[in-house]
Every structure is written in C-alpha cells, then in structure tokens.
Subunit: 101 residues, 2 copies
Amino acid sequence: MRTLEHPEPGVLRLETVLAALADPVRLVIVRQLANGCEDQACIAFELPVTKSTSTHHFRVLREAGVITQHYRGTAILNNLRDKTLNERFPGLLDAILRADA
Amino acid sequence: MRTLEHPEPGVLRLETVLAALADPVRLVIVRQLANGCEDQACIAFELPVTKSTSTHHFRVLREAGVITQHYRGTAILNNLRDKTLNERFPGLLDAILRADA
C-alpha cells in the first residue's frame, strides 16, 4: 500500500503552518475536518476548485503538518492533526476555527 | 504630512492576516512590537534583510491590518494593532506569540 509522508511533530514550523492556513479553500477543508467525522475522503469536500487544485491544497496541508492523509483502496482519507497542532502551537487552531469564516 | 493607509477593522480577513504572519522576518517584527514599547521606528529593528525588503515586510503587515505605521519627520513608526486583532480574531495573536520562535 502506498503511503504518504508526514512531518514529525517536532519539525513543524509556525510560519509553514500559518502559510498552509492562509488560503480560503484550505480553511474550508480545515473547518470541515474540525466539524466532521474521522477519515473524510477528499471527494467528500465540495470545493470550488478543480480536482488537481484540490489535490494541491490537501498536499500543502499535509506537508505543513496540519492534516494526515492515508489511502483506503483508491480513496485518500484525511484527518486533522489537532492533537499535534494543539501541543506544538497551543490555542492556534482554536483561534483560527473560532474566527469569522 | 504624508499618511499611510490602513484597513478598517471590519475588513480584516483571516487568510490575509495569516499570510502576513507566515514569514520568519515578519514574525520577528511582530514579536519585537509585542515585547517592546510604542512607536518603534523601522530602523530600530535588526533584521537580516536589505532595507527595501524590510520596507516590503512592514508594508505587508500594515496592509493586512497587523500593524499601524505613521510618519514622524522622516522616520516611520510602527505599532502592533493588538487590540484590533484581539477583537477580530480572539486568541490568534496570543497563540502566535506563545509559539516557539
């Protein structure tokens, strides 16, 4: 099974996480992951962008350490790394989720 | 006296603020403003960049609504818009200042 790379918690950088979150489409993804259930498939997000742009946004979030992605069959399932983010950057995710959309 | 434009609190956008903060030099500026006194001149910041790059970074922060800038003679003085940021995005600035540099 193909696996995708994820940064370890210790190497997450604040400016990289902020840059990953500094995009309206990626904020939609993060809010949906925060409000929804586990293992949300990429195709379950109704995003106003093409599939390849959507794939790019998910990859940016994963590489910054904001989400995990893993394969189930041909689907890619996503989860918010809220525990890791809350440990590394206390209060940041909550403040962003609390802000006006 | 020449004045510089600042966005009204109501038009500040989360993704624009996050993008402004998603840069190591701009985080240094924000931390120094948060820890220092009022009206800090641009030249008082020891930044590892050229003067024109530094000017760019201050402008990005001002246009995103993170700092105010005003002239005193030929100097430009900077202040953190912490009250505005705390009202619009509660907890965000504190979380960012609390994070590891």
